[in-house]
Structures are given as C-alpha cells and as structure tokens.
C-alpha cells in the first residue's frame, strides 16, 4: 500500500515518448529493417531448398538425357554361309532355328568390321547380336548383303555425344588419341548415327555400358513390389480395421499400436538386418530374390499403410455406422460394406505413398543380396533379381565413364515413376476424399 502511495506521490520523471524525435525514428526504421531482413531470410531459406531441388534435377537431366540415345555404326554385312559355319542345305530342314542359333556370328562380325578400316575394333563387343537378330528374323538373307546399324564401343558413343573435353591434355581427358581419331574418321565417312537406345529400356545389366539397360531391374522392381503389395495392403487394412473398429481397449491394442508407431520410425536398414538374419539365414528363403525383398519391404511399409488407413477410417462419421447397424447389419458387414469402402480413397493414398517409398528403397535390399549382377531379366519370384534403385547404386559404383549417363538416365526413369505415383495419390485425395 505504501509503495503505491509513494509512487503515486512521486513526480512523473518519464516524459511521454516523442515519436517524432530522430532517435525514435531511427529505432523504428531499424525495427522495420530487421523485419524486412527476417522476411528475406525466410524467403531465402525457401529459395535455397527449392533451388537445391532444381539444381539436383538439372544435373541429373543434363547428365542423363543422352543415356536414352546410342550411337550406331553402319556396316554392310555379307551373310556368308561359309563364315557363319552353317550348311545352307540344313536351313531348309526342320532344325533351321537351331542351326541359326549355333552359327558363328562373331566371325561374321569381325569380317564385316574390316570395312571400317582403322576403326574396325571400335564396334561393341556384342555387335554380333544385331546380326543374329537380323538373320533369325529373316533366314533368307543367307548369301546376300545387307546394310546394318550396329552399336559401337562406349568411348566412341561418348565422343559422338560430346561427353569428352577434347581440348584437355591427352592424359587427363579419359580417352586415347586413337579413339578420337577413329571417331573422327567414322564420323567423316558418315558411318555414325545416334538413335533412341532401345537396349537401355529392354536389356538387363551388362558389363558394357552400351549394352546395359534397366529392363531387368524394372521387371525386378515390379516383381518385388507385387510381393510387397500382396502382403502389406491386406495386412495394413486388416490391422487398421481391427484397431479402429474391433479392438477392445486394453493392453493388447496398446502394444500393437506402440509396435506400429515404433516400426514406422525404425531405420530401413534394420529391416534389412531382419531379412538377413530371419528370412535368409533362419528360414532359408532364396537369397537376392524378389520374394525376400518384397517381404522385407512389406514389413517396412506396413506401418505407413496402417497409419494412413486408421486416419481414413476415423474420418468416416459414426452416423454411417449407426445407420447400417440400425437396419440390421452385423459389425463385420458395417466395416466391410460401408466403412472401408468409404475410407478407400484415403487408404489408397497411404498405400501409394508407402509403395513409392518401397520403390525408392535400397538399403535393406543391399543386405539381402539384391545387389547381385544379373545380366538376364528375372525369371520369377525366387530367382536372383535386382531393382531400379539398386541398379542406380551398382552403376554409380562402376568406374567406366559410360555408366555415368546410364546412372542419371536410370534416376530419371525412377523419379518419373515416383512423381507419377505421387501425382496419382494427390489426384485420388483431391478427387475422391469426402469431407463430412
């Protein structure tokens, strides 16, 4: 009481603030300056993040778009029966295909390559495959001459695409003078052309960059994701339905919920350790197979689906359940004929996001051996296979220069599929999700 009286009695020492004084004006200006700077800082942070993404995409596309092209050389091939080592008479019999499959195309290719003069060894090691495919398609070519385009070595391919800095000193540019002169010669003869690289889309992995493709890895991804979806989707939807609609409040439901939340945060590589220790070493499932990869990824993305499905099921209003129960539906009928169908857009969105995570995942698959070098398209769920991101990883490790553009091109394909999947998820969410 006394202090209040004292302060009231004391004369006012502070003058009213003089807002027009230069000092106050300066302070206000400083505060507004700080405001502007802070705002710019925020915008700058956003620009850095977006700029980094743009830079990433730019470098990938810059390095990768040529991966979809390949350089081919023109050769005139005389399909000479003697060089091929086939008996023309046998070609008319019933075993003609078998005879053609055994023919010596390498010798024929070597002979045909002589017309390339100094650059005769600049054709791809597997150029003869083009001859075989042509002859098997049309056996009447025997004894005739045909103009064919065959793939060239990776170094010539990269030279034609301008990937080497030819002004650099010879020892640091990564390509020999001979290769450069051979390329100039071939180019001056008009024997080179650059076309769309079908081998990149269709082939599996190879030690030669000009023959390596993502076809095998893409099929492996498809097989793996098939297993993943077949396991994770029903498990996820069923768990979500049980937790939301049937679970009695109690310890069991709590433990399940805790497990799911923890699994969602476990690093992906731990699932790889589980796959290695349990599925491979204990259960003895086949190594490197889409089956084991798919199961491992399914366990990894199941929590994502469960969490999304629970949110979607929660969003279905209770009146729907009450109405269905009211006209005599049993609880199971309510859930499977009303609640889940209404929640399906949300469930699908979560599932697609989970699958796109599984599609981009590499680490757990490394541990279960899906880094195997597979030169053939996978034969089934238990055969060794590789997947798209793993192909990216394997190629990025390769020292051959030709694989750099292949890696970036494979990344472009992977990112395209992922963006497509996410767009579908966003579309589904906007188009079908109902606000009640």
């Amino acid at each position: 009481m006394a202090t209040i009286a004292a302060s009231a009695a004391a004369p006012l020492e502070r003058q009213p603030t003089d807002w027009a004084s230069p000092e106050m004006q300066g302070r206000i200006a400083a505060r507004y300056r700080a405001e502007r700077n802070f705002r710019r800082l925020g915008a700058g942070a956003l620009m850095v993040a977006a700029g980094f993404l743009a830079f990433l995409l730019f470098t990938i596309v810059r390095d990768g778009w040529t991966g979809f092209l390949r350089t081919e050389a023109r050769v005139e091939v005389m399909f000479d029966a003697a060089t091929l080592g086939v008996d023309p008479a046998a070609l008319r019999g019933p075993g003609a295909q078998a005879v053609l499959a055994r023919a010596d195309y390498v010798a024929l290719m070597d002979k045909a390559a002589l017309q390339l003069g100094p650059a005769s060894d600049m054709l791809s090691d597997a150029a003869w495959l083009a001859l075989r495919d042509r002859l098997v398609a049309d056996p009447t070519l025997i004894g005739r001459t045909e103009t064919l385009w065959v793939p060239v070595r990776s170094s010539i391919d990269l030279l034609a695409k301008g990937k080497y800095d030819l002004d650099a000193p010879a020892d640091s540019r990564g390509v020999t003078d001979r290769e450069v002169s051979d390329w100039r010669w071939l180019d001056s003869q008009g024997r080179l052309r650059t076309v769309f690289n079908q081998a990149f889309i269709g082939n599996a992995d190879s030690t030669e960059p000009e023959l390596a493709g993502i076809g095998g890895a893409a099929l492996g991804s498809l097989f793996t994701l098939f297993v993943t979806i077949a396991i994770a989707f029903p498990l996820g939807v069923f768990s979500a339905a049980w937790l939301e609609e049937f679970a009695p409040r109690g310890r069991l439901a709590d433990i399940i919920e805790l497990s799911i939340n923890n699994l969602a945060a476990v690093p992906s590589i731990i699932f790889g350790l589980l796959g290695l220790a349990f599925f491979l070493n204990y259960a003895g499932l086949p190594r490197s197979s889409p089956l084991v990869g798919g199961i491992t990824l399914a366990l990894m993305i199941m929590p994502v689906i469960v969490i999304a499905a629970r949110v979607a099921i929660q969003a279905v209003p209770p009146s729907i359940r009450d109405a269905a129960l009211g006209i005599g539906a049993s609880p199971i009928q309510v859930v499977f004929q009303h609640v889940v169908p209404l929640a399906l857009p949300g469930i699908m969105t979560g599932t697609i996001i989970g699958i796109s995570r599984a599609l981009g995942e590499t680490a757990p698959l490394l541990l279960i051996g899906m880094r195997a070098f597979v030169t053939d398209t996978p034969q089934g769920l238990t055969a060794p296979a590789t997947v798209l991101p793993m192909q990216v990883f394997l190629w990025s490790d390769d020292v051959q220069r030709g694989f750099v553009e292949k890696t970036s091109a494979a990344i472009m394909v992977l990112l395209f599929i992922l963006i497509l999947m996410n767009s579908v998820a966003i579309y589904l969410r906007n188009r079908f999700e109902r606000r009640w």
Binding site: A43, A45, A247, L263, A265, V266, L273
Partner: protein
C-alpha cells in the same frame, strides 16, 4: 512339385466344398418357402463356413511341412549313411546337402563328395514320400473338416456369426504381425549381438577407439585379431547426421516453415509445400549419387582452395550437407504444424501491442512452439542417423576420430553395409559385429523417437 499339386488340389476341393454347402443351404431356403427367419444365414455364409473349415487345417499342414520338411528330409538322407561317413559339423552337412540337391535337380553334372551320388536317390525318395504324405494328410483333413461342416448345415445354424468370428480372428492375426515384426527385429539383433559379445567384450565395443574389423584368415597372421572399438563410428554418425546435417536442416527448415506460415501468400504456400515434400520423396540413392558425383568434388575444391592439401574426396561435409537438405522437409513440416498450433490469440496479441511480425515470431511464436519444434528436430536426427545410402555412397570407410569436416569419417550404417555385403562367413566376429551395430542404432533411434513423441504430445496437450 507334388506340393504345388497338393496345394492346387486343396484349393480346388475347398472351392467345391463352398459350392456344395451353398447349394444345400439354398435348397433349405426353397424348402422353407420364404418364411421369414426360418433359415438364419444366407447360403453364401454356409458356403464360406464349410470352405474355411475345410481349407484352414489343410493349409496349416502344408505350410508347416514346407517349413520343417527340408530338415526332416535332411535327417532322412544323412541318416541313411553309415555312422562313420556322416558329416561331422553343420557346414559339411550343408555342403553335402547342396550337392545332393544339385544332383537331383540336374544342375550339377558331377559331385565332389563321393557319397553324394549314393544319396541322391535317397533324397529324391524322401522328398517324394514326404510331399505325398503331407499332401495326403492335408487332403484328409480337408475332407474331414468339410464333411463335418457340411453335416452342420441346418436352417437354424448360425453360419454368419461363425464366419464373422473367423473374420475377426483373421483381423486380429493381421494386427499381431506388427508385434511379431518388432519381436523379430529385437530378437534377431539381440541373438546375433550376444554371439558377437561372446567373442568381443561389450566394454571394448562401446568405448574402444580403434575400429578395424578385418580378421585374418590364419591365426598366425600379423594383426589377425581385428579390433572392434566402435566409438569412431558413433562419432562419425553423430558428426554427419546430428551436427553437419542439422546445421543445414534446422535453420533452413525452420525459416522455411516460418516464411510459409507467417508471410507467404496462400498461393505460394500451396505450391511450395509439395515442392518441399518432393525433397523428402526423392530416393536416398539419388541423393547419394548426387553427393558423391557433384557435391563431393566441389567440397574438395573448396578445401584445397582454403589450403587443405590432404582434403578427402569422401568428406564428412559433402555427405552431411546433402543429408541436411534431405532432412529439411522433416524439420519444416513439424515446425509448420507446431507454429500453426500456437493459439491465434497469442500472435494477434503480440501484433496488437505493436510488435512487428519478426518480433512476434522470435519472441512469441517460436518460444511457444518450441517443444513441437524440438520434437521435430529430434525425429529428424533419428532419421538422419539411420540414413544409409547417402553415407554409403558419399562418406568414407576410414574410421577416423576427427572433427575436421573435410576429412573422411565413417558411420554405423556405412559399416553395417560394408560388413554384410561381399563375401561373408556367418560365424565370424566381423559379420556379427554388424548386428551389434544394428542393435545400437535401433536403440538410439528408439530412444530418440519415444522421447520426441512424448515431447510433442505434452506440447499438444498444453494447447488443447
């Protein structure tokens, strides 16, 4: 092969049981001439009930056989040998069985082991007998279950209730998979780690400063023991994931979130949020490739420019920078949520007192949202230390204990991958140490997550 035929047969028979039971129930309804309530369940439920009764035991038998069958066959085959010729240890046994299998399948033209050709017919016979036995048992159970169920079809039998409790059991089983997975992870990590700690003391593992897991093939070789002090790995993980990456991610993520929630026009916000989410959606192998091919040379050039001649081409800085960019969306989305959850009255009150927006953000919003932001940062850290591909591709393998961002360090995840890919003998300390590292990683992320979620939850409750 026989097993596949048995499986198809079982499924076919179950389908037949379904149709038969449904037809019988349909007849009952006709017989009841449409009297309401005379037949409790619709024919499909009767059909489904009988089909499940028939199918479930048969499938359990077939699944059980495919799990334990191989071991039973192995016993049969090895038991056929005279005791003197039987393989002594597990490895010999597995090798012998592989040869026998190869011979039977025709993959192996000739066996190295002299007894293998003798065993091939025994193996083939055991497989055929076993498959036949299991198939026959499955079909017998199927017929038994189906007939019993078929006999129970009566107008007043509550087939729908029965089917629904079966469905509920399936739902419960699906939910239990999550627990089983958690247990599977914990058990496989602990089990293998215990074997590792039988060879290497846990104290050395947790506080040792020397990491060189190479064990020599022969015991008398120099440096054959290998040392398993994991501190350099823990430091490398924290240095890249929790220090460098967070120095990038926290300011950028937090400032982005502040700008998007407080300053940006709604249209910009609508566009920029998906762009940030895209950063989180890019596969980590792509970041790894980018870090190794584009960022690492730049960082090395920078290091050489500031006068470090021994700068490493797989520096901690390159991996950490790229990882930080990857983590931005995690920090920013959590910060975004927390900032939006701050009651509007607090923000409006501050603005009404004359504070500028930046003063409001710094003195009111961020302090109020701090627990949520900290929780988000902790989640981001746990995500960063478990991240694998970026560090595998961009960070090194040398276990250095250094705070120089331009030198090479290695992380727990890099080492797990390095130890478990390539040639591996499953019983060596080198391979098993990967599981011990995995266990440490699992515990670290678990603790971080539980703590972060608790922080976020408490904060949510404070404002609700």
């Amino acid at each position: 092969m026989t097993l596949l035929i048995a499986l198809l047969l079982v499924i076919g028979l179950a389908g037949f049981a379904y149709l038969a039971a449904r037809a019988r129930a349909g007849k009952m309804i006709v017989a009841a001439a449409g009297r309401f309530g005379a037949v409790h369940s619709r024919p499909v439920y009767h059909g489904a009930y009988v089909a499940v009764l028939a199918l479930a035991p048969a499938l359990i038998v077939l699944a059980g056989w495919s799990l334990v069958g191989e071991r039973w066959i192995e016993q049969q085959v090895v038991g056929a040998l005279p005791a003197a010729e039987q393989p002594v240890d597990k490895l010999d046994r597995a090798a012998l069985m592989n040869e026998v299998r190869g011979l039977v399948a025709g993959d192996l033209p000739q066996a190295f082991n002299p007894v293998a050709p003798k065993l091939a017919p025994v193996y083939a016979a055991a497989v055929a007998n076993g498959d036949l036995l299991a198939g026959a048992l499955a079909v017998a159970l199927l017929c038994g279950g189906g007939l019993w169920g078929y006999g129970r079809i009566r107008p007043d039998f509550r087939a729908r209730t029965a089917v629904e409790s079966q469905v509920q059991a399936v739902l419960l089983l699906a939910s239990v998979v999550a627990i089983l997975t958690t247990f599977g992870i914990v058990l496989s990590l602990i089990f293998e780690s215990i074997r590792f700690f039988g060879m290497v003391s846990p104290v050395e593992f947790l506080i040792g400063l020397q990491w060189s897991p190479q064990t020599a093939l022969r015991a008398d070789q120099v440096g054959s023991t290998g040392s398993f002090g994991a501190v350099p790995l823990f430091w490398g993980t924290i240095f890249i994931g929790a220090i460098i990456a967070m120095l990038v991610a926290i300011p950028l993520g937090l400032l982005s979130a502040i700008y998007l929630t407080q300053y940006a026009a709604p249209s910009l916000r609508r566009w920029m949020k998906p762009v940030l989410e895209l950063l989180a959606g890019v596969p980590t192998v792509v970041y790894g490739f980018f870090a190794a091919l584009t960022v690492a040379p730049l960082v090395r050039q920078l290091a050489v420019a500031v006068g470090m001649s021994d700068a490493s081409s797989d520096s901690a800085l390159a991996a950490g920078l790229v990882m930080g960019i990857m983590i931005i969306p995690f920090v920013s989305s959590m910060a975004d949520d927390s900032l939006t959850a701050v009651p509007r009255a607090m923000r409006d009150g501050s603005l009404a007192m004359g504070a500028t927006m930046s003063e409001t953000v710094k003195k009111v919003m961020v302090p109020a949202a701090l627990p949520g932001i900290v929780g988000g940062v902790l989640l981001a850290v746990s995500r960063a230390i478990g991240e694998t591909m970026i560090v595998v591709m961009a960070a090194g393998l040398a276990a250095n204990l250094t705070a120089n961002p331009f030198s090479s360090v290695t992380t727990v995840t890099t080492q797990i991958v390095a130890l478990l890919t390539g040639d591996q003998e499953f019983d060596s300390a080198k391979t098993l140490s990967a599981f011990a590292l995995g266990l440490v990683l699992f515990c670290m992320t678990l603790v971080l997550n539980i703590y972060a979620l608790a922080v976020v939850k408490r904060y949510r409750e404070a404002y609700e």
